[in-house]
């Protein structure tokens, strides 16, 4: 705190001095008609095409859009960090405090980077140099831009680390990035960004790789620092919840263009572009009643090589009219809000109203205790970690049931053991102890033949559809492979026919069978993964983060597909995910895990309406929802601290180190999973049984 005081006084005086030159009303950064071209093997594309926006000192602007919309490219173009050989800025100006950054000589531009504009990147794991100490990496801009001496830079680096909430800062300076957790590394990145008191920080998906509780910590920190030090923030993200909680203004981008622009609360409350409306509707939401089916945006974002001639969103737009064949301009609908849509004024006047489907479920489908298909009892999985018999307790004494035809959601942060549970069920990893009974059969004791029969009934869909499909096999071969392995079809033509059927089932055209994985989009690849899982007509599918890597609009399509298949084929799902809103949408019952143990088990509505365990409550509080009004009212119930290492889990209740309710007793005793009310279990000694 003390460190911060001296620092903030220093900044205020600097800001005050410069305020004379730059009155507060002058914009900090003005991007005017920026256009970037990329040279690709198949032709020239424009991932950023004619975008303009302005940032005022101290404000937070969010740039939102799905992958490939140009949001990162435009920011890299501002910093002139695009690869020189393939990318070229072909038009526009970037005015920063009156200077045109695009026209500066490289040596001058270098002085802007890290000194006046800082950038924070998505992957804290790879964004720091692995062979240099944290200290050196923080001190580097100080020494280069401010010409500080070694000792002065070291002192300032220590201050910066304290400022971003890293304890024991002096010792940390000598550490290397691999010795820190992901959240810590992102704090270090922020410290580097703050080092020279920049006026603007561009944060490119700063928390996408982090867990939800850590994400909340990092974003609160950035917002807080930006407010206290009067730093403007450009927040690039795909997460609408983050935008709602932290942004003052928002830019929605689609296919290289800004489609909607304006004050964040206005855009969320009254979106005036069908794409924004579609985005907001296709996210599963924690703050509204669950819908039976997610609304989706049909189709895929356009290929930048073959853009539609008119409005770029028109091919996917449900409200297109003949006029949409001509390109609309970015027009002001009301003061402070712009939309690139011919129908924006019709939306504004109410002439065209887009009615949301009813949010309530038609009928409660929750059948409380269906007969279990899968039953897990006291499952444990320990990993040896080399030295002197040390073990990591990835899964520790986990018991739950999955009923026939039911979807059980398994949620938790990284390292909580949820994926390991899935892998042990499928015998992709051998459990250390416990029982796994599937359909009356003991999975752990099954020998080769039995296991093969079991695997026909249990299938898996993985997270990363790119790396889990063999790049050298055609889609048809990938889907047909399980059929061949289990000799299910009489001959090749029968096999081919079956593949066609499966493709149709997951909503892919038949000609896809001859394509290769790299020719497909992310969503299409995930559909292939689903078709492969369905090939053996299983009764049970483990979906391991099956929709996590997909863009919002595609994610909604895949979730709807999974739900439709469940209805049609009577499937049972174990849905492993970290996104609480997605789990709420798809699951009937939810299991919450933390550090290898179950914290809470309940039916979906009971869990989300009345969460009992302090960890579940913290998780729900940390997940931002896409509604600025709700976000403003919500207390920021931040979970403090880092996830403890599974190598040395805390004694007693594993959550006690971060729990606001923890007492001495929590340290000594492992809390049993108790039934608080019918069907609602929690492992916490502080909770009363009703």
């Amino acid at each position: 705190m003390l460190n911060f005081m001296s620092h903030s006084q220093a900044t205020t005086s600097v800001a005050a001095a410069e305020a004379v030159v730059w009155p507060a009303t002058a914009p900090l950064l003005q991007v005017e008609n920026l256009a970037v071209e990329f040279e690709t093997s198949r032709g020239r594309i424009r991932p950023v095409d004619d975008i303009s926006y302005t940032i005022w000192p101290g404000e937070t602007l969010a740039i939102v859009g799905e992958s490939g919309c140009g949001k990162s490219v435009s920011s890299l173009a501002i910093m002139r960090l695009l690869p020189k050989t393939t990318a070229k800025v072909v038009g526009g100006r970037v005015r920063f405090e009156g200077r045109d950054l695009l026209a500066l000589p490289e040596a001058e531009m270098r002085k802007v980077r890290g000194r006046e504009i800082s950038m924070i990147f998505q992957e804290p794991m790879t964004s720091l140099n692995p062979v240099l100490t944290i200290g050196l990496q923080i001190m580097e801009p100080l020494r280069i831009h401010l010409g500080m001496s070694e000792a002065a830079a070291q002192k300032r680096a220590t201050e910066l680390l304290s400022l971003v909430g890293i304890t024991d800062a002096r010792r940390r300076l000598a550490q290397y990035p691999h010795e820190l957790s992901g959240g810590m590394r992102q704090r270090v990145m922020i410290a580097i960004g703050l080092a020279c008191d920049p006026k603007l920080i561009i944060a490119d998906e700063p928390t996408t790789a982090l867990d939800v509780t850590i994400q909340a910590q990092i974003l609160e920190l950035m917002k807080d620092l930006s407010r206290r030090l009067n730093i403007a923030l450009v927040l690039i993200t795909h997460n609408l919840g983050i935008v709602a909680r932290y942004a003052d203004r928002i830019n929605v981008m689609y296919a290289g263009r800004v489609t909607e622009q304006g004050d964040a609360s206005r855009v969320f409350a009254a979106p005036r572009h069908p794409y924004t409306i579609g985005l907001l509707r296709s996210v599963p939401r924690l703050d509204q009643p669950r819908t039976s089916r997610l609304e989706t945006i049909d189709g895929l974002p356009p290929n930048l090589l073959e853009l539609p001639s008119g409005c770029r969103f028109a091919p996917r737009c449900a409200y297109r009219i003949p006029l949409c064949d001509t390109e609309p301009g970015l027009m002001e609908t009301v003061p402070g809000q712009w939309s690139r849509c011919h129908r924006a004024s019709a939306l504004e006047t109410g002439e065209l109203s887009i009615v949301a489907p009813p949010r309530a479920l038609p009928a409660a489908s929750a059948q409380l205790a269906p007969e279990p298909l899968l039953s897990i009892r006291h499952l444990s999985k320990y990993f040896d970690v080399g030295r002197r018999g040390a073990v990591a307790r990835a899964v520790d004494d986990v018991s739950f049931d999955v009923g026939r035809g039911e979807t059980v959601g398994l949620v938790g942060e990284s390292g909580c053991g949820k994926t390991t549970v899935g892998r042990t069920i499928l015998r992709l990893a051998e459990a250390t102890a416990g029982e796994i009974i599937f359909n009356g059969q003991d999975v752990r004791r099954a020998h080769r033949g039995e296991l093969q029969a079991l695997r026909r009934q249990m299938q898996v869909i993985f997270q990363d559809p790119m790396s889990s499909l063999n790049p050298r096999m055609t889609i048809g071969d990938i889907i047909g492979e399980p059929l061949a392995v289990h000799r299910l079809e009489a001959d090749r033509s029968a096999c081919r026919a079956r593949v066609q059927l499966l493709l149709e089932q997951v909503g892919l055209p038949g000609y896809m069978a001859t394509r290769y994985p790299h020719q497909l989009s992310g969503g299409q690849r995930q559909r292939v993964g689903i078709a492969r899982a369905l090939a053996l007509q299983p009764s049970f599918i483990v979906c391991d983060e099956a929709v996590s890597a997909l863009d919002v609009s595609i994610q909604a399509q895949v979730i709807n597909l999974l739900e439709r298949l469940q209805r049609e084929l009577g499937l049972t799902y174990l849905f492993i995910a970290h996104d609480l809103a997605v789990v709420r949408h798809i699951a009937d019952r939810v299991v919450v895990m933390y550090l290898g143990r179950i914290m809470e088990v309940a039916t979906r509505d009971d869990l989300y309406d009345r969460p009992a365990h302090p960890y579940t409550r913290a998780l729900l509080a940390a997940a931002p929802v896409p509604d600025p009004e709700t976000e403003r009212r919500r207390p920021s119930g931040l979970l403090q601290g880092e996830l403890p290492s599974p190598l040395a889990p805390p004694s007693g209740c594993v959550f006690h180190t971060r729990c606001p309710m923890a007492s001495e007793a929590c340290r000594n005793e492992v809390p049993p999973l108790r039934e608080l009310r019918p069907g609602h279990y929690a492992a916490c000694i502080k909770l009363e049984v009703e």
Binding site: T126, N129, P130, V131, L132, H145, H178, I192
Partner: protein, 316 residues
């Protein structure tokens, strides 16, 4: 780290045992008999009795397993025996020539690494320019052309252009560095060329890969000078695989030396080795092979320790 080092040194023993066994039996399978070579080689006429007597003197009349056993006992007690040809102690034969070969190996490594790193970095940073194309052509040559042939070219070049030949007798470095280097730099170049070529190709691809890493982008975003980005951020990461490679390349280096010493008529271990093979001098061949295996293992241990020192993520 000490635990790791001692474990590695301990594991060296079984490796050396396997090498010793394989080389022993391989040599007995290879045709050629030292006694016949020695006594009948130049068309001499010697009675069978003399031959048998010589055999007995060298211990070659004993059963194979007994000979093997004696060889093992000798190894364990560091008694490598005497050369079957000259009758001098093997340790003496080697000691007289080891310095030259080690110096040559070090020189060739320096030439290889220095040239390789510089050329590889240039090639990566000036990708697809004429500099890059030229360097890639040179490195291709280094890998395709055998070092003895390069050696011959160097000699011919020196002789025809400068009408000068390197000195023929070995002067230890500390006696007269200039005379020493003017003799040894040429074979070091011939052997080091290949080494440099392999290193340059690795460095080129490694730097190109590292320059695309996120942390390089971070360094740029911090406003670090391009020169500092390359030296501090990129090279330190890009040279890590070179460390590993230099250990493995050492085997090629030794192989290259054996031939190159012939070309430059240097009286080193390589020449000793070739002569020993010519003479089917079992004892000497075995001992030289053991020495090379030992050096190779030690060099690779040093390389692994060096790697750990350079990469903070690796700790033994």
């Amino acid at each position: 780290m000490w635990a790791y080092t001692s474990k590695r040194l301990f594991l060296m023993l079984p490796t050396l045992l396997v090498v010793a066994t394989v080389i022993f039996f391989l040599l007995r399978v290879v045709p050629g008999d030292i006694v016949e070579l020695k006594l009948l080689g130049d068309g001499g006429m010697v009675s069978q009795a003399t031959i048998d007597q010589e055999r007995a003197r060298l211990g070659l009349d004993q059963p194979l397993l007994v000979q093997y056993f004696n060889w093992m006992v000798g190894l364990v007690t560091f008694d490598f025996g005497t050369s079957m040809w000259t009758g001098r102690a093997v340790s003496e034969e080697i000691a007289g020539r080891l310095m030259l070969s080690i110096e040559l190996a070090i020189l060739a490594s320096i030439v290889g690494l220095a040239l390789g790193i510089v050329l590889g970095t240039l090639s990566a940073l000036l990708r697809n320019t004429w500099v890059d194309h030229l360097i890639r052509l040179l490195t291709l040559g280094g890998m395709a052309l055998p070092s003895f042939w390069i050696g011959m070219l160097i000699i011919l070049f020196l002789l025809y252009i400068f009408d000068w030949l390197p000195p023929m007798t070995y002067t230890p470095f500390f006696t007269d560095p200039w005379a020493n280097l003017s003799q040894l730099i040429w074979p070091a170049l011939a052997v080091g060329y290949r080494y440099a070529a392999v290193v340059a190709r690795l460095v080129r691809s490694s730097i190109m890969e590292v320059m695309n890493e996120d942390y390089i982008r971070t360094a740029r975003a911090k406003g670090v000078y391009e020169r500092l980005i390359i030296v501090r951020h990129a090279m330190r990461n890009a040279l890590l695989p070179v460390v590993t490679l230099s250990g493995l390349e050492f085997a090629f280096l030794i192989g290259g030396l054996v031939v190159t010493e012939q070309v430059f008529n240097l009286n080193g271990i390589g020449k000793l080795f070739i002569d020993a093979i010519d003479n089917s001098d079992y004892v000497l061949i075995q001992s030289v092979v053991m020495l090379m295996a030992f050096i190779f293992i030690v060099v690779n241990l040093i390389v692994d320790l060096l790697y750990a020192a350079l990469d903070p993520r690796i700790r033994y």
